[in-house]
Subunit: 413 residues, 2 copies
């Protein structure tokens, strides 16, 4: 493997997580130490920062601020949702990227994102190869959705899962506080895969947790749902429901987009999302107090509750990407493999082909969902529990989080 001398660029893409910046930190800190890497740039708002020639020089940042990325939520370099064309069909963006890569002598490209980002990585890699520009392209995964194919789990998932399970445990106590009875519906992110909603069930490990749990992997049946809720409520005088935003009726339509509710027969779109819709359904059926809670951005931005396991693995994913690229690897994503050493969970870092990761979505296995379709099995708990382990020691000032504040000095070629 030849040594390749040149600059590197890292870009972040897609919905942020509590630890995507820990991955960036892993890339930046490792790259700054690599002899073959001459400069470390961060692209503003993902691939668009490259297209717009807006790169920041990470060598000009205070190293202490860079390290604060370990506990800083959102994507510090900015994100984007820009979909690139196939280079075979329309190569304008790729020509522009090549131009910028040449301008800064960029020989390493690290893209920190989910499915779409791995797709972008894969296309850029193919294009650079086709035009004979030597550049090593590596994917650094992130997604709270945990739906990337080929990897045991994804950085970002463990922290969101910990936030969800902890919040469910706390709300579970609150929801039973009055003798008058109460139902609570907690809406959790996950449009196509139920990994996040399933993590609500982790609260059962501390004796709390949802009574009922609905994932998009199973068809949602309104009648059965109301029967389930009624049965729990009649027994316990309370019911806590965790539900994925992506649940669908048998015809494939999203429950969250249902146009008609019992209070409104005119077909007006409801404000307030799925939690409000299901709450209204339950209220109509049981006539009791019902509250809907949507975890919304809180679940992916909750860095204060990030799992230390997740932070460490996210950092390591970034770091491994740099080390492998410098050793000659290209066109791969860093993936995770689970090992149990003396019965103790441990994470092994592996390399996966970008194109496999890009085009397949991993769902919660059917056999991990209970027969009744309103809960998960012990196999899921055993899978997810190690990922939420470890309390982080985030820096706090005046009782408030101390996030990274990068200077973002524009790079010069």
């Amino acid at each position: 493997m030849s040594q390749l001398i040149g600059a590197c660029v890292i870009a972040q893409s897609g919905g942020p997580t509590a630890v995507i910046n820990a991955s960036a930190c892993g890339v930046i800190e490792t790259a700054l130490k690599e002899a073959s890497i001459t400069a470390v740039y961060g692209a503003d708002h993902g691939i668009t920062g490259i297209l717009n020639d807006l790169l920041y020089d990470m060598g000009k940042e205070d190293p202490a601020e860079i390290h604060l990325l370990m506990n800083t939520p959102s994507s510090e370099l900015g994100s984007c949702r820009y979909k690139m064309a196939d280079p075979e069909k329309d190569d304008r963006d790729y020509k522009r990227i090549l131009e910028i890569f040449k301008k800064y002598n960029i020989r390493y490209f690290f893209y920190n994102g989910g499915n779409d980002s791995m797709d972008t990585c894969s296309k850029v890699s193919r294009y650079m190869e086709s035009v004979g520009y030597e550049c090593r392209v590596m994917g650094v995964p992130k997604t709270i959705d945990n739906d990337l194919f080929g990897t045991d789990h994804c950085p970002g998932y463990g922290s969101a899962a910990k936030y969800i399970a902890t919040s469910v445990a706390e709300v579970s106590r609150d929801n039973r506080v009055y003798p008058t009875g109460s139902v609570c519906v907690m809406e959790i992110m996950g449009r196509h895969a139920g990994w996040l909603a399933a993590s609500a069930a982790l609260a059962s490990v501390c004796g709390e947790g949802p009574d009922l749990l609905y994932l998009p992997e199973r068809v949602f049946d309104k009648e059965q749902f109301l029967k389930d809720v009624k049965a729990v409520y009649e027994k316990k005088n309370s019911c806590l429901i965790a539900v994925s935003e992506g649940i669908q009726y048998a015809d494939g339509s999203f429950v969250s987009e249902a146009k008609t509710s019992a209070t409104d027969g005119f077909g007006h779109a409801q404000l307030g999302g799925l939690a409000a819709i299901l709450s209204e359904m339950v209220k109509q059926e049981l006539g009791c107090k019902v509250r809907g809670i949507e975890l919304s951005l809180l679940q992916r931005a909750g860095a204060h509750l990030a799992s230390q396991t997740d932070i460490d693995e996210a950092y390591q994913a970034g770091s491994e990407a740099v080390r492998h690229a410098c050793a000659g690897i290209t066109g791969k994503m860093v993936g995770f493999e689970r090992e149990y050493i003396d019965g103790k969970y441990s994470c092994k870092y592996v390399l996966l082909p970008l194109d496999i990761v890009a085009n397949t979505e991993k769902k919660v296995p059917a056999e991990w969902i209970t027969e009744a379709g309103n809960g998960v099995t012990k196999e899921f708990i055993d899978y997810a529990l190690p990922l939420i382990a470890g309390e982080n020691s985030r820096p706090v000032e005046n009782g408030l989080p101390r996030f990274a504040n990068l200077k973002k000095v524009k790079a010069e070629a």
Copy 2:
């Protein structure tokens, strides 16, 4: 002051907080050590547990479990919203309470709650005195709303404020992550007083925080609101709005109960609350991406982020109530006075007459709200910042909270 030998009962009431159980812990642990207290009972679901003769014997609990109340959210003994009649008008409940007090020889009554609970305390105290039954009645305050009169602040407020300010800081970063622009409306509890919503402004201390803030102390003007949002959005390409659920139009109607929106001219009640209503308003006006987040129960149940200052003060409030009662005091609530010793915040415990506390609501002072009515001044920050200080060291097992699990052994007379 005579020594009074007998049992004590503690009851919890109203909406729970992250630290109301820390106050209960203060009462129970201190009472268990007091020589003049013969037994320590916890009433099931507030005053209704006394009316229903359902008391739990705290002496039969594992002391380690009792101490876990320090980090357990919700009201572990259960809460109620039972409104007692004036004893002068209808004394049936009071006769029943007297009967139960006599049955268990209860000579000390500690009521842990907000405005209504202090009212109940006051009435029970008056009644017991009028019938010549010697019983010392003490109020132990709690409310995330921070609206109790006479006390500098209330236990529960600091923890909710810390949760809100931290969540606002995190969401603030996430809300600016895309170059495409975004507005986010965060709905915060507080029907009549804006203390909680104002705490969102604490995030400004770490460089984040809401761009705009609306409290119920000021009349809500829709046109001005939209003008404010537009101005911020045009300048920053994003806007974070924190708003109290209790904001009202000039005619006194709650904005959250507005029947008509731009999408629905038929006057149907909106699902999803104030955040959804304001989001829709902004979307109509600016046409940009808008997200509404309601902090709902999360903000009062978030024990994982409870302020250690708040936990300590809540405990102390309970403990002081017991010690003063044993020393002969009755008919008082433990209140807080702020001191600065060498410039450092410190809390002094004082005794306040129950009836003053019960019937007055404390609002955010007009001079702490900016002239434009969309923010708070430095005076508010200086007031609230010490209350969110201190990271708690809650017990965690398997990455999940370890809450108290009381056995709740029914008391025997």
